[in-house]
């Protein structure tokens, strides 16, 4: 009541003042539902009779005024304000020296722009953001997909965030890169869950995901951001319930299949190819391939590829009980999740429990306690090894072989005792590899978060103290049985134990202050953080266990521990940080923030431990300016930011201390015993510090037509400098000691990002469409100042094909390859291909061999002919979503794609190469070049390769890895009424339904840096789900 009087008094005072100086005045005050004056309301005064048409906007007290309003009737006020329902008042008349005064209350629309977005160490209204911060859209739909990690959930949803799956491995999460790779080492995104870095959580609990894309917003996490950036996750919290406890059950179950699988040659074709290869090389074909001498190996008995793949089951069940009042509320949850891989005996399982409780001691004192326990069990397989990878083994194995011998033991390349097994090379039965892998591999994470929040200590000042503690216990026991079957036998069995125990705690104390005076709004935040990550563990092994039965797989039965030195460790990583942020805005028009974080890291050498990382942002909300008066525009804001983040993870622990490497020799002592050896492994640079990314961002946010159309546009320029890497230039391996880590080099990423959405209604159909696209240009900006310097990468296929090298101006991890110009069709073509001296450029070539381009025209094919040919980092990424609702039905489609990707299909080296061992091969080899099949691009089948067709890292391996995937399709029905107050929703979904790509490998999402040794596809999943609330 008091407030109302006060308001009226002020209004009266103000109106009287104006009336004295300005006759013919129309004035008024605009308030929100709480009676507070609303600033920035656009008021338009119209009169169709006399053509009057002016607008103005309300001041910080909500008052607006029009002066010199012509006398007349029929005046109309149209009042709009972002976030509020507009109002129109008609039928006003202006008399000579008269005055119109009105008082309007606008109703809050509760719009999306008013939504609060979680940012680092706080939150902010979406419309006030001045940094490049993106919320992941379509969370409701994403959570219904049969995917079990957040990385998969965000793929394709946010412009500038590139997610690449590591094939179909159930135990491996996709990699996430924000705005391009900038580190020479591991570049992990920092996940902050409910304010706690790297806390474990149940992905089914995720309520929102925010990506801090620019360095200015991520700078608040300083050196812990990783040069990749920060993703903030909020999870479901306990709430007050009105009618007693609520129980929710959500679940999905799906069937996963692999697709686009290659096939190997049938037995008779294997022999044909081997004989052809020997003949072409002028060699005697081996007797084993002779059908009369060795008929056994001519009969196809096994389809290896289909023996190792299966239909996997993925399912997750979550049950949650929520109950509480305004004073005290609790949430209990349980989850079970099993994600089987499409390769035999691979899976990832999680069982978790959670308790979340909120206590409100007084309106200003709140306490939250969260306890999360997760048990993980997973089993994978290596597919990327050029010698023993399971899928490659599935190709290498002769199809004359059987999975099992008649006695039930695993089969080798041929019958035991066969004289001809040597023809097959050292191929390994992949079913045996998969099924013999039976480790105990369990990890328990226990996370506790305790948070006390005190508000209004003085008006505007709040304080939060949060202590989080995580304990991790991991135990791994693996018994590797003997591999007696012919092929690549190993008569040694081994038992290995590994363990790791971790505790990680972080204590944060954060004070926040907010103050408004006049049209100024001021915020300040200060925080200190201390944290410790401790690990302790050991590895021990024993061998020669006579009895391989499960009960006997214990050290007590191991006869031999020689040469198996156990290892152990205890490490402690401590860090202290000081964080501060100031923000200021004026009149809802101008926004400024500045933040600074100072990190002190124990892992660095003394004297070089501390470093500060700043961030600055500014925004101008043009739509709030009085002069800006465009009715359909709800929001128009331009923003700019600059900031720096660090990548502490780029440096190992205890860098400041020089320790020796423990190795061993067998040279000393009769009988060649194990003798420990010590030496210094790497040279050291004491002044080493972490890598830093500096990023500039320019952005535009627009919301139109009652916020039905929204879009955001960003340009960024991200420079990662002081890269940490082993010195390459000026440190050849003749130095004889591992090169030191140095801070050297810069990588730049620039790009444009666009995302937009449209919400509409057509009759009774509600729909939303959204899309995002981003460009990315990645290049090495600086190596060491020497124009000739390069970065080499040791990634190699079977030790020989080394396809990567970078130079300034080219992408990081560029392909560096000899170009090919097709296949020599005739000997004349070979003979005519001569260098400047007239001698043949490819003297070893025969018709059917690859023609390599002599780029430097020196008459021979060497590394000097290699050219840079792009990289696996997509130049263009995009995603598109459509959600449609009609009555209780809904349909959601999500498509995602990349282009400008190059992949190196190294799988071809091992499977289309006639000169590689005696392995079986990909059936595509049947299409190899021959005098009767001259259009093929596969070189001739030959047991020797004098032309180095396959041993040359050439663009023959390079393929376009662009794709468009129909990532997800969901059709659901929500029952309008379902037994009293409860609700029910059911849906079916398909994941990875279609992929459009030119890539000839199994799947264009090969992971890593594009070297594809036979990566297997992300699974196609058909699933169904249910949500019940009681």
């Amino acid at each position: 009541m008091n407030k109302l009087f006060m308001g009226l008094f002020l209004l009266a005072f103000a109106l009287r003042g104006m009336a004295q100086t300005n006759p013919n005045t129309a004035t008024g005050v605009i308030r929100n539902e709480n009676g507070e004056g609303l600033e920035g309301a656009v008021v338009r005064l119209l009169n169709s009779a006399n053509g009057f048409n002016q607008s103005t906007s309300s001041n910080d007290k909500g008052i607006f005024t029009f002066t010199k309003v012509p006398v007349g009737g029929g005046y109309q006020f149209i009042i709009t304000h972002v976030g509020y329902a507009g109002d129109t008042l008609t039928g006003y008349e202006m008399k000579e020296n008269g005055r119109i005064s009105l008082s309007v209350i606008l109703q809050n629309k509760n719009t999306s722009l008013d939504r609060v977005v979680v940012i680092g160490y706080g939150s902010m209204r979406k419309k006030d953001l001045s940094a490049a911060v993106s919320e992941v859209p379509n969370m409701d739909q994403i959570k219904e997909r049969p995917v079990v990690n957040v990385e998969n959930m965000i793929q394709g949803q946010v412009a500038g965030v590139t997610v690449v799956a590591d094939g179909g491995h159930p135990d491996k999460a996709p990699s996430v890169v924000i705005r391009g790779k900038g580190s020479r080492g591991d570049e992990n995104v920092l996940y902050v869950v409910d304010g706690v870095p790297n806390a474990p959580y149940n992905p089914a609990d995720v309520v929102s995901i925010t990506v801090l894309k620019d360095a200015a917003s991520a700078a608040i996490y300083g050196a812990f951001s990783g040069s990749a950036g920060v993703i903030l996750i909020t999870t479901r919290q306990a709430r007050a319930t009105k009618d007693g406890p609520s129980v929710d059950y959500t679940a999905f179950a799906g069937a996963k299949t692999a697709w686009r699988l290659p096939q190997s040659l049938t037995a008779d074709k294997t022999a044909q190819v081997a004989n052809l290869a020997a003949k072409k090389a002028g060699q005697q074909p081996l007797d084993g391939w002779d059908a009369t001498k060795n008929p056994y190996d001519q009969v196809t008995r096994t389809d290896w590829i289909h023996s190792i793949f299966r239909t996997g089951l993925v399912h997750r069940h979550t049950i949650a009980v929520n109950s509480g009042t305004d004073k005290f509320s609790t949430l209990f949850e349980g989850r079970y999740e099993d994600n089987e891989g499409t390769l035999l005996n691979t899976y990832n399982k999680n069982i978790s429990g959670r308790m979340n409780a909120n206590y409100v001691f007084s309106p200003h004192v709140k306490f939250k306690q969260d306890v999360f326990v997760n048990n993980n069990d997973n089993r994978g397989t290596a597919t990327d090894n050029g010698y023993s990878g399971t899928i490659l083994s599935g190709i290498y194995m002769p199809r004359s072989a059987t999975v099992y011998y008649s006695d039930g033991s695993f089969g080798g390349v041929g019958p035991i005792g066969s004289q001809y097994n040597g023809i097959h090379g050292d191929a390994i039965n992949p079913v045996a590899t998969l099924l013999r892998n039976q480790p105990y591999n369990k990890r328990t994470d226990i996370q506790s978060i305790s948070e006390l929040k005190v508000t209004n200590i003085i008006p505007g000042l709040s304080f939060v103290t949060r202590f989080s503690y995580k304990s991790v216990n991991w135990l791994y026991k693996d018994f590797e049985p003997k591999r007696p079957e012919p092929g690549k036998p190993n008569n040694q069995n081994t038992l290995t134990y590994k363990t790791d125990r971790e505790h990680y705690w972080i204590w944060e104390n954060t004070a926040n202050y907010e103050h408004r005076f006049g049209r100024h709004s001021l915020g300040a935040m200060a925080s200190t953080t201390s944290q410790e990550d401790w690990h302790m563990g050991f590895t021990a092994s024993g061998k020669t266990i006579d009895n391989e039965a499960t009960w006997a797989q214990f050290f007590v039965n191991a006869a031999d521990f020689s040469g198996m030195q156990p290892t152990d460790y205890e490490t402690k990583d401590r860090n202290v940080s000081y964080v501060g942020r100031l923000s200021y805005s004026w009149a809802d028009r101008y926004f400024l923030t500045g933040s600074y974080r100072y990190d002190i890291a124990g892992r660095l050498a003394a004297g070089y431990r501390g470093k500060g990382l700043p961030g600055v942002t500014a925004a101008w909300k043009i739509s709030s300016e009085p002069f800006f008066n465009v009715a359909p525009v709800d929001l128009l804001k331009i923003r700019a930011s600059w900031g720096r983040i660090g990548n502490l993870g780029s440096i190992g622990l205890y860098y400041g201390y020089l320790t020796l490497k423990l190795d061993n020799s067998y040279q000393v002592g009769n009988g060649s015993p194990y003798s420990p050896a010590l030496y210094m492994e790497n040279a050291v640079t004491p002044s080493l510090s972490w890598e830093t990314s500096e990023q500039k961002d320019l952005g535009l946010d627009v919301s139109l037509l009652g916020e039905r159309l929204n879009f955001t546009f960003d340009y960024f320029d991200k420079l990662t400098y002081d890269l940490i890497q082993q010195q390459f230039t000026n440190w050849p391996n003749t130095m004889g000691i591992g090169a030191p880590l140095v801070n050297q080099g810069k990588i730049r990423n620039t790009g444009f990002e666009f995302s937009g959405s449209w919400r509409g209604k057509a009759g009774r159909v509600d729909y939303e469409v959204g899309g995002n696209l981003a460009t990315l240009k990645n290049r090495v900006d600086y190596i060491d100042g020497n124009a000739k310097s390069v970065w080499t990468f040791t990634d190699a296929w079977r030790g020989t094909l080394v396809p990567f090298q970078s130079v300034v101006g080219q992408p990081y991890y560029s392909y560096w390859l000899v170009k090919t110009a097709g296949i020599f069709q005739t000997q004349k073509e070979v003979d005519d291909y001569v260098g400047p001296t007239g001698s043949k450029i490819q003297p070893g070539a025969r018709p059917g061999d690859l023609k390599f381009v002599d780029q430097n025209k020196d008459g021979k094919i060497t590394d000097a002919d290699k050219v840079y040919m792009g990289s696996s980092a997509p130049k263009f990424t995009y995603g598109f979503t459509a959600n449609v609702r009609y009555h209780g039905f809904d349909l959601s489609v999500f498509m995602q794609g990349v282009s400008g990707v190059k992949l190196f299909h190294a799988f071809k080296e091992s499977t289309l190469n006639g000169a590689e061992q005696g392995y079986n091969r990909w059936d595509k080899i049947l299409d190899a070049w021959s005098t009767t099949n001259t259009h093929s691009n596969i070189p001739i089948i030959s047991a020797n390769d004098p032309n180095n067709n396959f041993q040359t890292a050439s663009d023959w391996y390079l393929e376009d890895g662009g794709y468009l995937r129909v990532k997800s399709l969901i059709i659901g029905y929500t029952f309008p009424r379902f037994i009293k107050k409860s609700s029910l929703r059911v849906y079916i979904s398909g994941d990875n339904l279609f992929t459009f790509t030119k890539y000839s490998g199994m799947d264009p999402e090969v992971g890593g840096n594009g070297l594809d040794g036979g990566q297997f596809p992300v699974s196609r999943v058909y699933s169904g789900g249910v949500k019940i609330s009681l």
Partner: protein
């Protein structure tokens, strides 16, 4: 400020476990571990397990036993230097070279050790520095461009990229000097207890001094004159001698390659090997898949040319080469050799003794082999240099100085041990024949011999083997067959190419080997 400095102390946690670098040359245990560091690479596949052998395989004695493009390209002298077989070996040799440099420097100020241990350790460090330097130098060093080397004695050591010396002879100068120092500091092999066998010793240092001079002599014939006296020291001072006195001349020679004689008087320097580790070369040359009983790799196979080099009565041929029908013992069972895999129809026989142990053809019962088929080491040491080679170098040195009659003594000592008639006045042809037959399929590098002798046409001749009519039958008849086409080696390619990545990381300091 106070708060901040507190934090700085609080975050400063100390590492656990591995000792700090400050303690390496303090106390006998640490010094021994530091010296062990010099020997680590002896057991690598990259070095004397297999990969250094790919370059020796370019001789006329052997072929690549199974399709292997990198190996074939090395043999055909069309390699680039990128081949992991060459590049990896280079890398590990330089790693050991630097560890030896660090040891030489660290031992100068070593604390809490006896002077005996200090001298021995220093001797080991000089030996290992010279030894790995020798391998790098002779493989990649050229008369007009030596290999990169820096010694810890140089003021710029550690502050610069080790420079390519002007000529490989400059490398040999340094190697000879290290071997001299090592010979002065090291004890005799006989002074070692069984626990120290395998360490560098005086005869090994003198032996590599001989070999260094012998290789150097292709550029400076004066070096031949230095060799005989050192050979005599190896015999008289170091007590090195051929194994003789067995039941037959054939047994004399076979005894050299027996586990029991790992440390015989004939031993000069070997890769010490056992069932845990050492050289895997024995498994590398064993029949591919070991007739289904063990993981043989089947890589290097002898040629008809080598087989035919032997005199009819020379028992070394059967001891060196397995031919179809030859009898041998394999995991306790008698077998007659046949192979469906060997491209030449032959297999190296010298290192088969460790496979004779065990029973019933079960490799798991053999106590003398590593059961891990991915690292198939055995209890038989891999000889890198034995006394017979010293005798042959002495003979070669005398012949090269025109003292052919004097050369008869060492040459015939080698021949007499295997029951062959003496040669009265040996010529270079006799020496070449003897060296080939005595040392065939060992790590003495016939390819380098052919290069330094200038026998280009021998290298380039096509190579042959035997194609047996029924390859699963030990006594099947055979036809001669060409198993390797003629090659086009020329003396411009006398030294092997350097990995181009090393050249690029040197930032212009290194040049590729001349001729490549």
């Amino acid at each position: 400020m106070l708060f901040s400095s507190c934090s700085k102390n609080w975050v400063d946690t100390k590492p656990n476990g591995n000792p700090s670098t400050a303690n390496l040359w303090d106390g006998e245990t640490n010094v021994e571990k530091g010296i062990n560091g010099l020997y680590v690479s002896m057991a690598y596949e990259n070095t004397w397990g297999r990969n250094l052998f790919w370059m020796q395989n370019a001789s006329d004695d052997l072929i690549v036993g199974r399709p292997k493009a990198d190996g074939e390209n090395i043999k055909n002298f069309v390699c680039t230097g990128h081949e992991g077989y060459m590049a990896g070996a280079w890398n590990d040799l330089y790693g050991t070279l630097t560890k030896a440099n660090e040891a030489i420097s660290g031992l100068q100020n070593a604390k809490n050790i006896s002077s005996d241990l200090k001298n021995r350790s220093l001797g080991e460090a000089y030996f290992m520095r010279g030894f790995v330097h020798f391998w790098i130098a002779y493989l990649w060093g050229h008369k007009d461009q030596g290999v990169p080397y820096d010694g810890v004695e140089n003021a710029e050591y550690g502050k610069r990229i080790p420079p390519q010396l002007k000529s490989v002879t400059d490398n040999y100068t340094q190697i000879a000097s290290d071997m001299q120092k090592a010979a002065d500091l090291l004890p005799l092999f006989s002074a070692y207890s069984s626990a120290d066998q395998g360490r560098a010793h005086k005869a090994a240092a003198l032996g590599y001094l001989v070999k260094t001079y012998a290789y150097w002599a292709q550029y400076d014939a004066g070096k031949w004159a230095l060799i005989p006296a050192i050979c005599d020291r190896i015999k008289n001072e170091c007590g090195r001698a051929l194994i003789t006195g067995q039941a037959t001349p054939a047994d004399n020679y076979k005894a050299v390659f027996k586990i029991a004689n790992n440390w015989s008087p004939e031993y000069i320097w070997s890769v010490n090997s056992g069932t845990l580790g050492g050289s895997e070369f024995m498994g590398v040359v064993l029949e591919n898949t070991g007739w289904g009983l063990y993981n043989g790799w089947g890589y290097f196979q002898p040629t008809e040319e080598l087989y035919d080099e032997y005199e009819a009565t020379d028992p070394r041929r059967e001891a060196t080469i397995l031919n179809f029908g030859d009898q041998f013992t394999y995991f306790g069972q008698s077998r007659n050799y046949y192979s469906t895999n060997s491209l030449s129809g032959f297999q190296i026989n010298k290192y088969m003794e460790p496979y004779s142990y065990g029973t019933n053809g079960n490799s798991g019962t053999n106590p003398n082999i590593n059961q891990n088929g991915d690292y198939p080491t055995t209890s038989l040491n891999l000889p890198l240099m034995r006394y017979a080679e010293i005798l042959l170098f002495k003979a070669e040195a005398l012949i090269m100085q025109g003292k052919n009659a004097d050369a008869a003594v060492p040459l015939n000592e080698v021949r007499a041990r295997v029951g062959l008639a003496p040669v009265a006045v040996p010529t270079m042809a006799d020496l070449k024949h003897e060296r080939r037959c005595e040392l065939a399929c060992e790590w003495t590098d016939r390819c380098m011999d052919l290069k330094r002798w200038g026998d280009v046409e021998v290298i380039n001749a096509p190579l042959h083997g035997r194609s047996h009519k029924v390859k699963t039958h030990p006594f099947s008849g055979s036809d001669p067959v060409q198993v390797w086409p003629a090659r086009s080696y020329s003396p411009t390619k006398i030294a092997w190419p350097i990995n181009p990545d090393v050249i690029s990381s040197s930032n212009g300091v290194y040049k590729q080997t001349p001729g490549w």
